[in-house]
């Protein structure tokens, strides 16, 4: 059985799992966005910085999908579909540009997993994934929101990387481990070799 070597082709179930992650996180962002608005008002004129502070939340989907399905391109597709859910179903004000954001975030988050050839899922890889995702998308956001030339550019970068590492990396890992504990992932993960199964 091809249990341990990742196969490139995504099954319909893989796609549905990715969409479910996109939908649930899309919905949860929407629920927690109230908290975000409160935070931006609290921060007054620097409210704009909360975007950097919370970027990690938007990075969660890719590492979680990767750690569940363990196949190439899953992270990129997961971020793209999550963006599609927000644009098409939730009517996000960022509009279709979010698709580009998702693509870049996905690529960033996936690079560290790809470097391990989708074999290692330890804390270090998650941490690197969060840093990479947050770092890569920083350049795109800087263009999008005209950050270049602002005095607080280094502060923004620091906050964004920190958030990426903590929320988009370590939190993602915590969620995956908790999911493993519930047993929902049993049929989604590559199977144990079939000939090892014994009937009671």
């Amino acid at each position: 059985m091809a249990a341990h070597t990742p196969t490139a082709r995504l099954t319909l179930r893989d796609i549905v799992v990715i969409v479910v992650l996109g939908v649930v996180f899309g919905f949860l962002y929407w629920v927690f966005v109230q908290a975000w608005t409160a935070l931006s008002i609290l921060m007054g004129p620097l409210g704009d910085l909360t975007g950097n502070l919370l970027i990690g939340c938007w990075l969660l989907v890719a590492p979680i999908a990767l750690a569940i399905l363990r196949k190439p391109f899953v992270g990129v597709i997961a971020e793209l579909l999550a963006a599609a859910v927000e644009v098409v179903f939730l009517g996000s004000p960022a509009g279709p540009l979010l698709l580009i954001t998702g693509l870049i975030q996905g690529i960033g988050s996936e690079i560290p997993f790809a470097l391990t050839r989708y074999r290692r899922y330890g804390a270090a890889v998650f941490l690197a994934s969060g840093l990479c995702g947050a770092g890569l998308v920083f350049f795109w956001s800087a263009v999008r929101f005209g950050w270049l030339g602002q005095d607080i550019l280094p502060l923004r970068l620091t906050l964004q990387l920190l958030s990426g590492a903590l929320l988009g990396g370590l939190l993602a890992r915590g969620i995956v481990r908790a999911l493993e504990g519930t047993g929902v992932l049993a049929n989604l993960r590559p199977a144990v070799a079939a000939d090892e199964l014994v009937r009671r």
Binding site: A191, A194, L197
Partner: protein, 440 residues
């Protein structure tokens, strides 16, 4: 059409179903029975091609459905010939508009667009859901959704329909609608049904309303028997019931404790019982109703003298009291070491405070409880109670009947007479009428 050779599914963790060998022909309807966890759903999923892609596991033996090997082909390819309806209607319907949901399988099978609309309308009408066609699926009730799921499973004219507890979420009319739709299927469609609510499914036709063939599984997923429903239920009913399966009312729940054949009893010159037949099984509670003078008490008295000697509670409990105190009444006839059981029974019937009182000083309800308690202590296999709820207020009647119900649930065969149709139907497994000297 379905052909299986030593088909066995082994799941991670050691569970599994089979091995099953057999074939199911076009138009055949088959019931799969077994206790929870026996592997009924697993079997259906394997037939639909979900093992091993969707459900990890190993399949042994050979399986073919209309020339397709579901294990190799997977769900999508198998769905060319097989329709599936699961128990959770919310997760079984995928799209937001009913018509789109039913059209999806047709589009996927490359039906010509101009044929799709008429087929969608036709199949929705077939399951009694024509009025739902343009509705949003988010606004439908569980029963309505289940009909839509059934329509989607039937749309592309499958050769085999797999139904895994399709009525789990439905009310009685929903069950009837799904059953009618299944019974109204084209004659060549084979149906495999997993269903707990057999009485609701069978409707007023009783056993005859169930699929004529049954595959019974034991708790570990081994096939107990594959044969005509009535015969399988007769042979394995008690075992399946003991493992917690719901069985149709007609099916005996336990071993027969008392069998009565062609009983004739006359009172004076008047024949009262004329060729009466009755089977009492362990674990069941049978209520007998009938007009005044139909012969109910006569029947109970006649049964009371049979062996094994039944416990008997008379219409008037005072007739039975033999001892001076409540405690002594309970202990009467028991070995000396039974004091603990007597105390426990005192507590159970709520008479601990009255243990030293005379039985005759109790209220009507307490007297009844006392006489039933005394009878229960003897652990008889058959219990007969004449009008146990008679003359009691509601609370006392409920306590009395609950004592008897518990006795039945612990394995005794309980026969009682009653004029209270509501209570009889609520508490008893079977309600019989005594009329013209026979039970019906």
């Amino acid at each position: 059409m379905i052909r299986a050779e030593q088909l066995e599914i082994v799941l991670p963790g050691g569970g599994g179903v089979g091995p099953w060998s057999g074939s199911i022909g076009p138009g055949e309807h088959v019931l799969v029975l077994g206790p929870s966890g026996a592997g009924k759903s697993t079997l259906l999923r394997a037939l639909a091609g979900a093992v091993p892609q969707h459900v990890h596991g190993r399949v042994e033996g050979a399986l073919s459905i209309d020339g397709i090997d579901p294990i190799r082909a997977g769900v999508a390819a198998t769905s060319d010939r097989v329709g599936f309806v699961g128990q959770d209607p919310v997760a079984g319907v995928c799209l937001s508009r009913v018509a789109d949901e039913v059209a999806l399988p047709l589009e996927n099978r490359r039906w010509r667009p101009e044929d799709i609309g008429p087929r969608v309308a036709e199949v929705l009408a077939q399951v009694g859901a024509a009025h739902l066609q343009e509705r949003e699926t988010a606004e439908l009730s569980g029963g309505e959704l289940q009909r839509v799921a059934l329509a989607a499973a039937l749309a592309a004219r499958p050769a085999v329909l797999l139904l895994d507890e399709p009525t789990a979420m439905l009310d009685a009319s929903g069950v009837a609608a799904v059953r009618r739709a299944v019974q109204g299927l084209p004659a060549e469609v084979a149906v495999i049904l997993v269903e707990h609510r057999l009485d609701d499914w069978a409707g007023e036709r009783g056993l005859a309303g169930l699929p004529p063939r049954t595959i019974a599984l034991d708790e570990r997923g081994r096939v107990l028997e594959d044969g005509p429903t009535a015969a399988v239920l007769a042979r394995h009913g008690p075992r399946l019931a003991a493992q917690g399966c719901w069985l149709p009312r007609e099916v005996p729940l336990g071993p027969a404790r008392m069998t009565v054949r062609d009983l004739h009893v006359s009172r004076g010159v008047r024949p009262v019982l004329r060729g009466l037949e009755l089977d009492l099984h362990g674990g069941e509670m049978v209520a007998i109703m009938g007009a005044n003078g139909a012969g109910k008490s006569t029947l109970l008295e006649s049964l009371a003298s049979r062996s094994p000697r039944p416990g008997l509670v008379l219409q008037n409990p005072e007739d039975q009291f033999v001892a001076a105190t409540v405690r002594a009444e309970l202990a009467e006839g028991l070995p000396a070491g039974a004091a603990d059981r007597v105390e426990a029974m005192l507590a159970r019937i709520g008479l601990a405070e009255h243990a030293e009182a005379s039985p005759y000083r109790l209220s009507g309800g307490q007297k009844r409880l006392l006489s039933i308690g005394a009878m229960l202590l003897h652990g008889r296999e058959v219990l007969l109670a004449d009008e146990p709820g008679y003359g009691l207020d509601r609370a006392a009647a409920v306590r009395t009947l609950r004592l008897l119900r518990d006795a039945a649930d612990e394995g005794a065969a309980v026969l009682l007479t009653s004029h209270d149709a509501q209570a009889a139907h609520r508490w008893a497994d079977r309600v019989l009428r005594l009329e013209d000297g026979v039970l019906r």
